[in-house]
C-alpha cells in the first residue's frame, strides 16, 4: 500500500498543488504568484518521482507500472509543463482573470499525462487519456468571451470525443478477445496466438485512431490547425508538445510492447503514415499566411518525422525520442517567440521588421525556426540525421528519401518567416517589449537547442539505456 502511494506521489503533489492554486486564484492572487506556485509544485513533483532504476515495478495491482521509459517520460512531461508555465507567465493576456483556473487545468493535464504514460492496464490508459482530453477541451476554449477560442474548444471537443469513443470501443473488443485489460498479459497472449484475427485488427485500428488523434498523425490531424489557431497562444504551445508526445509514448507502450505486432505489417504501415503525415503537414504549411496556422501545420510535419523513427526498430525508437526531446524545446521556443513578439495579430505581416523592433526576440525566433528546419549545428539537424540514419540502416530507403525531401520543402516556409522579419519594412517601428519570464523561457529553450546540438552524447547514452 505504501509502495502504491509512493508510486503516484508526484501526481498527488501536482493535484494538491493544482487545488491550492485554484483556491489562491479565487482569493485574487496575481498571475506571477500563481505561476510561481505552479513551478514550485512541478519542482516538488520532480523530487518525489520514484526510482530511476531499470527494474520494472508495478502499483495498484498492475494498474500502473514503472520502468525506465515511464520514468523518463514523466520527467519529460514535467519539463514540458515548466516551459508552458513560463510562457503563460510571460505572455501578455487580454484579460487577467481566471489565472488560477488556468494553472489548475495545466497542472491537472500534466498529472493525467504522467498517469497515462505509466499505465499498465488499458482501463487506466483510457481513463487518464479521457481525463486529459476533458481538461484540454477547457484549455482550448479558455477565453470564454473570445469567439475564436470558444470555437476552437468546441471543435476540439467534437473531434476528441469521437476519437476517444473509437478508442474505447477498440479497448472493449480487446477485452472480449483476451479476457483481460492488463497490457503485459495481452502481449503474452499475442505472442502465442499471432495477430491475424480480423476482430483484433479492427480493435488495433480503433485504438490506434484514438492515440493518433493525440499525436496528430494523418488522417487524424484535421483538428490541429483550427484548434491551435483559436486557442490562446500558450495553450497552443502546450498542445503542440505535451499531448502530442503522449500520443507517441502511448503508441510505443501499446504497440511496441508486443513483439508479435512488430513482426506483422506494423512497421510498413507506420512508415507510410509517417510519409503522409510529414508531406501533408509541410505542404499545408507552405501557403499559410497566418503564423499560428503555419506553426500548427509545421508541428504536423514534425510529427511525421517522429513517426518515421517509430517505424524503423530499436535504433529508430532512440532517434524518435531524441527528436521528441529536441522538438519540445524548439517547437515550444518557436511558439513562444511568435507569441511574445505579436500576442494579438497572427498574420505574417504583423512580423514585418521584427529584426529591428525586437532584435533579441527575432534572433531567438530565427534560431528555433532554423532548428525546426534542421540546420547544423542546431539540435534539430542532429535529430533529423538520426531519424534518417535509422531509416537507412533498417533498409527503408524510400522513407529516408521522404524525410530529406520534406526537410527541403519545410526549409522554404521557415525561411519565409525569417525573411519577413529581417527584410521587410515594418508598418510602425515601435519597439516590442518582451517580459522577463518570456526571455527566461526563450533562453532556456535556446540553450537546450544549441547545447544538445553540440553535446548530444549524454542524452543519447540515456536513450540507449532506455531502449536497450
Amino acid at each position: 500500500m505504501t509502495h502504491d502511494i509512493l508510486f503516484i506521489l508526484p501526481e498527488v503533489v501536482l493535484a494538491a498543488g493544482a487545488l491550492f492554486i485554484l483556491v489562491c486564484g479565487v482569493f485574487g492572487c496575481r498571475r506571477w504568484l500563481l505561476g510561481f506556485l505552479a513551478l514550485a509544485s512541478l519542482t516538488l513533483a520532480f523530487f518525489v518521482l520514484p526510482g530511476g532504476s531499470n527494474t520494472a515495478s508495478s502499483a495498484f495491482s498492475g494498474m500502473l507500472m514503472g520502468d525506465a521509459f515511464g520514468f523518463a517520460m514523466r520527467i519529460f512531461f514535467l519539463v514540458a509543463t515548466v516551459l508552458a508555465v513560463l510562457l503563460s507567465m510571460g505572455y501578455r493576456w487580454q484579460d487577467d482573470d481566471d489565472a488560477g483556473e488556468y494553472f489548475f487545468f495545466l497542472l491537472v493535464a500534466t498529472a493525467c499525462m504522467m498517469l497515462a504514460v505509466s499505465s499498465g492496464n488499458l482501463m487506466m490508459l483510457y481513463l487518464s487519456v479521457e481525463m486529459l482530453s476533458i481538461v484540454s477541451y477547457v484549455l482550448a476554449g479558455f477565453l470564454k468571451r473570445d469567439i475564436y477560442s470558444t470555437e476552437a474548444g468546441l471543435k476540439y471537443f467534437l473531434f476528441g470525443a469521437l476519437s476517444t469513443g473509437l478508442m474505447l470501443y477498440g479497448i472493449t473488443l480487446v477485452y472480449g478477445l483476451f479476457g483481460t485489460l492488463n497490457l503485459a498479459d495481452i502481449n503474452a497472449r499475442l505472442a502465442l496466438s499471432g495477430v491475424y484475427a480480423p476482430t483484433l485488427i479492427l480493435a488495433a485500428v480503433l485504438v490506434f485512431a484514438g492515440l493518433a488523434f493525440k499525436a496528430s498523425i494523418v488522417p487524424f490531424h484535421m483538428w490541429v490547425a483550427d484548434v491551435y489557431d483559436g486557442a490562446p497562444w500558450p495553450v497552443a504551445a502546450f498542445f503542440s508538445v505535451a499531448p502530442k508526445a503522449l500520443g507517441f509514448a502511448l503508441l510505443v507502450r501499446v504497440f511496441f510492447g508486443s513483439s508479435a505486432l512488430m513482426h506483422s505489417g506494423w512497421p510498413g504501415i507506420t512508415a507510410v503514415l509517417a510519409i503522409l503525415t510529414m508531406t501533408i503537414g509541410n505542404l499545408s504549411a507552405f501557403h499559410q499566411d497566418n503564423v499560428k496556422r503555419l506553426l500548427a501545420f509545421s508541428s504536423v510535419g514534425q510529427a511525421g518525422y517522429i513517426l518515421a523513427g517509430l517505424a524503423t526498430g530499436l535504433l529508430g525508437l532512440q532517434a524518435a525520442f531524441f527528436y521528441m526531446i529536441i522538438y519540445v524545446f524548439m517547437n515550444m521556443g518557436a511558439f513562444a517567440s511568435a507569441a511574445l513578439l505579436s500576442p494579438n495579430r497572427m498574420d505574417l505581416a504583423a512580423y514585418k521588421g521584427m529584426g529591428q523592433r525586437a532584435p533579441w526576440g527575432a534572433m531567438f525566433f530565427t534560431m528555433f525556426l532554423l532548428s525546426l528546419a534542421g540546420l547544423p549545428p542546431l539540435a534539430g539537424f542532429l535529430a533529423k540525421f538520426l531519424v534518417i540514419r535509422a531509416a537507412v540502416e533498417g533498409h527503408y530507403f524510400w522513407l529516408a528519401a521522404a524525410v530529406v525531401l520534406n526537410s527541403v520543402i519545410a526549409f522554404f516556409y521557415y525561411l519565409k518567416v525569417i525573411k519577413i522579419m529581417y527584410m521587410d519594412k515594418p508598418a510602425s517601428v515601435k519597439e516590442v517589449a518582451i517580459s522577463r519570464d518570456g526571455y527566461l523561457l526563450l533562453a532556456i529553450s535556446c540553450a537546450a537547442v544549441i547545447g544538445f546540438g553540440l553535446w548530444p552524447k549524454p542524452l543519447l547514452d540515456i536513450l540507449a539505456v532506455i531502449f536497450a
Binding site: V138, A152, T164, L168, Y169, Y175
Partner: protein
C-alpha cells in the same frame, strides 16, 4: 441464457448508429447524443464480456461504471462549450462554426 453473440451484435449496432449520427448530424447537441450512443455500445460490450468470462472478477462492470462517469464529465464540458459558443453566435450548427477554416 442469451448467447454472447447477441450482445456483441447489439453493441456493434449501437456503435454504428452512433458513428452514423456523428458523421451525418450537423447539430452539436445531436452530435453529443450520438457520441453517448457509441459509448453505450462499448458499455454493453464490457458488461456482456465480463459475464461471459465468469464472475471471478468484475473488471468489465467496473470499467462500464467508469465509462458512465467519464461520459457524464465529458458531456458537461461539451455542453458548456456549446453554450459558450451559442452565447456568442446564436447557433448550435456545426456548419456555422466557420471562423477558423476547417
Amino acid at each position: 441464457m442469451i448467447p454472447l453473440g447477441h450482445y456483441v451484435l447489439l453493441s456493434a449496432f449501437l456503435f454504428c448508429v452512433g458513428l452514423f449520427g456523428v458523421l451525418t448530424q450537423r447539430n452539436a447537441i445531436r452530435f453529443l447524443i450520438s457520441i453517448e450512443i457509441m459509448l453505450n455500445g462499448a458499455n454493453i460490450n464490457l458488461v456482456a464480456f465480463n459475464r461471459y468470462f465468469g464472475a471471478s472478477d468484475a473488471t468489465g462492470q467496473v470499467f462500464a461504471l467508469f465509462v458512465i462517469g467519464v461520459a457524464a464529465a465529458a458531456s458537461v464540458v461539451g455542453l458548456v462549450l456549446v453554450i459558450a459558443v451559442y452565447r456568442l453566435r446564436k447557433s448550435v450548427f456545426i456548419d456555422d462554426f466557420n471562423l477558423l477554416k476547417w
